[in-house]
Amino acid sequence: MAGAALDLDRPRPSVAEALRLARQRAASYRGIWSWVLTVDHKRIGLMYAATAFTFFLMGGMEALMLRLQLARPNSGVLDPDQFNRLFTMHGTTMVFLVIMPLSAAFFNLVIPLMIGARDVAFPRLNAFSYWVFLLGGLFMSASFLTGNPAGTIFEGKLGLPDAGWFGYAPLTLPQFSAGHGIDYWAFGLIILGVSSMAGGFNFAVTIINMRAPGMTLFRMPVFVWMTLVTSFLIIFAMPIITVGLFELLFDRLFGANFFNVQAGGTPLLWQHMFWLFGHPEVYILVLPAMGIVSEVLPTFSRKPLFGYPFVVFSGIAIAFMSWGVWAHHMYTTGLGSIANSAFGISTILIAVPTGIKIFNWLGTLYGGSINLKTPLMFAIGFIAMFTIGGLTGVTHSIVPSDYQQQDTYYVVAHFHQVLVGGALFGLFSGIYYWFPKFSGRLLGERLGQLHFWLMFIGFNVTFQPMMVLGLLGMPRRIATYSDGLGWGLWNMVATVGAFMIAASIVVFMVNVIVSMRRKPDAGADPWDARTIEWTIPSPPPAYNFAEVPQVHAVDDFWHRKYVEKESGEVVPAVAGASAIEEAAPGDGHGIHLPSPSYWPIVAAIGLPMIALGFIYDFALVPAGAVITMLGIYAWALEPEAE
């Protein structure tokens, strides 16, 4: 009967108990819900990788459209308005929605395994980072679907931001940028910044606190070191751009005058804040890839990393020095000879630690037994391309010469050299290297080599001509150019190269699909590697390590497999076969794992709602804030499920 079913006298569970029951139920979900509520670093890493790769395809298509427009002089493929919006989205997407999250994917997938941990220090915060990234990226991309106000010159145009990925003031102020594009850009970056900050704290704490017994700081793999350094850079750099973005939004939404010259504001302040963030940001983009290269080279030369302490210290030095060079992006703004000289010297000097890394990588390969598989090809490609990128950076640091190079295609060539030839190649090296660990299958070697060579050649065909174009006087960010300036040929060549890169990405995607169809028989250690993530099965069980590993040296796994005789000869250790963990019987009952949770995604959802509220309808702001606050409150109260 109805009355019996209600049973109003039954004791009510407390809030904490209700949350515990909900969490316990969440642990039983399968299928898509188990992914939505997951706090497992391996799943979060895969979600980061898939999402980042999707944005990569989007940013790549934007690039192809830009290159189609610029292939010939006076071309009409895109009008200037479309061009401006596309190059803004291309840059913003590639930096914030591709390279940073791809690095985060590697932090998630690999760091706990490399340090012998079960998961990261704050698993729910980890999930929160991912959901905020996804929602921030979707939010920013939603501007594709919006329009522009009537009565302005932008009426009928798409509502994307159009002031470049660096959004210089006062161009971004409402009198010059009507519509909401810049608001989407600024709020989007703030939301993404929340994701990065959370990740920065999470990984710094994880690396400092959760290393396996015996793994002192100087027994950590270099990738772990670079992640630690990058995490600190994120923690200190993100707040700076957040302040700048708040000031910009106050100017745009509330009539503040930070950057409005008529009322005494200073546009130059935006540049200082942007680049004080922006320069450490480029090292945030490249240091993880350098860490990956420092793992791949020793494995595929079967020798330790040459000069391990020097590689580590140069990474730390780069991070410190990166705070002292920001105004090299501003040499032409009229800061004066003293400032330009100071930043010229600091920029010249930051080449030293970078050179140290390059030489140590060469030293690692020298005298090795080099296995020319795809991960190594990408790592070697990184070394070659980053050397060019670094050297063009040195030519930039020659300040008077930079007065000619600044704002031209020479700069575009330089930063694509280090971000694509450098960071992206390093990340692909990592993908080919760790793919077997997480899927149990190796990526196809023939398709991998095709991908590498097509991408390497295509990359050079695209970007080396841009160095010439810059020196021939072609400025950046121009939607079209006249005939007769000598730019047509090189632009056409660059466009051809861009399509070669696109073809190589298709090859990669085919490789992934074809490889996933094979049986998962790669085994725990397909590369005869050196670090402890290769001691556990591929793919790893949910609990990672059945027993917490005891670490005795750098490259601990290698030392379990091989012994060095007096003569220097390296022979397999007698007990080497048992260095690999067998999959523990059963499904890991009794091993305490972090439980899944509803609250990270709930807390994340409020953030884009707040942003939309400021743009469209203020009622959404308190709604979003309440949802986020509720999510955090429940998160804090939520106990373990078991």
């Binding site: 504001g265 020798k303 009229g334 000879s337 037994s369 070659a384 050297l391 020196l471 000598g486």
Partner: protein, 250 residues
């Protein structure tokens, strides 16, 4: 043996000469905005600095790539049964060498760099010709502010093309009426941003008569690609004639 060494030396010298020629010869490429074909003292100084540093950088690059290729070929794994090689961990003397040598080289480059920054950043000479450049979305105006260029009503001569006499220092003062632009005449000088709220100044000159293409070099919105202007450098007589023509026109 001796023949091989001297052949090697000859080859290295020839390669270096070829590099220099290659870089200097870039001026032969057409294009009115070619920074490798400078026609003014400022652009000249900037091109020379660039060539020196780039030649050094190219030598280093060739060294690194050659080492990389050599290592990959010489030390490639020849059979899958090859045992692991000697586990070398490092070499402190090498580390010091390749830290100190680049640092010294770079500091060496810093000296002419700073000297040039100071030279190019100085105030224009006293007898310079002063032009007030006004930039707005999406065009330029040039005001000749020296008293000798005032018209009948005392207003400064204002033109849409920048006419200048050859071999005389031009002192520009930059003003923006809206957003940030950048004043760039590639064949005569590197660029200087036109910042709203500031009046950036620089000096430059033209050493050859000619018509020099120029365009805005800081993204300023939808018309950025077409925000161009022209610098016409003439012998003093031709320049005076142009001034008279401008001042007498209604």
């Amino acid at each position: 043996m001796r023949l091989r060494r001297s052949v090697l030396r000859l080859a290295t010298g020839a390669a270096l000469l070829a590099l220099v020629a290659l870089f200097m010869g870039c001026g032969a490429f057409g294009g009115d905005q070619n920074t490798f074909a400078p026609e003014g003292d400022v652009a000249d100084e900037q091109r020379d600095l660039f060539v020196i540093v780039t030649i050094i950088a190219t030598i280093i690059l060739i060294g690194v790539i050659a080492a990389l290729v050599y290592i990959m070929v010489r030390y490639r794994r020849r059979s899958p049964d090859e045992p692991p090689p000697k586990q070398v961990h490092g070499n402190t003397r090498l580390e010091l060498a390749w830290t100190i040598a680049p640092a010294l080289l770079l500091l060496g480059i810093a000296v002419p760099t700073v000297a040039s920054i100071i030279d190019l950043g100085r105030e224009a000479k006293d007898d310079a010709l002063h032009v007030h450049v006004v930039a707005f979305r999406f065009d330029w105006r040039f005001q000749y502010t020296d008293p000798e260029f005032a018209d009948a009503g005392g207003e400064p001569l204002t033109a849409e093309e920048l006419h200048i006499p050859v071999d005389r220092e031009i002192a520009v003062e930059l003003e923006s009426q809206d957003v940030i632009h950048s004043f760039w005449v590639p064949k005569l000088a590197g660029k200087l941003d036109v910042m709203p709220g500031r009046h950036n100044r620089m000096w430059f000159n033209a050493t050859e008569p000619g018509v020099y293409a120029a365009q805005c070099a800081e993204f300023c919105g939808i018309g950025h690609s077409i925000m161009k202007f022209t610098v016409v450098a003439e012998e003093p007589a031709g320049f005076e004639a142009w001034v008279d023509e401008q001042l007498s026109a209604p």
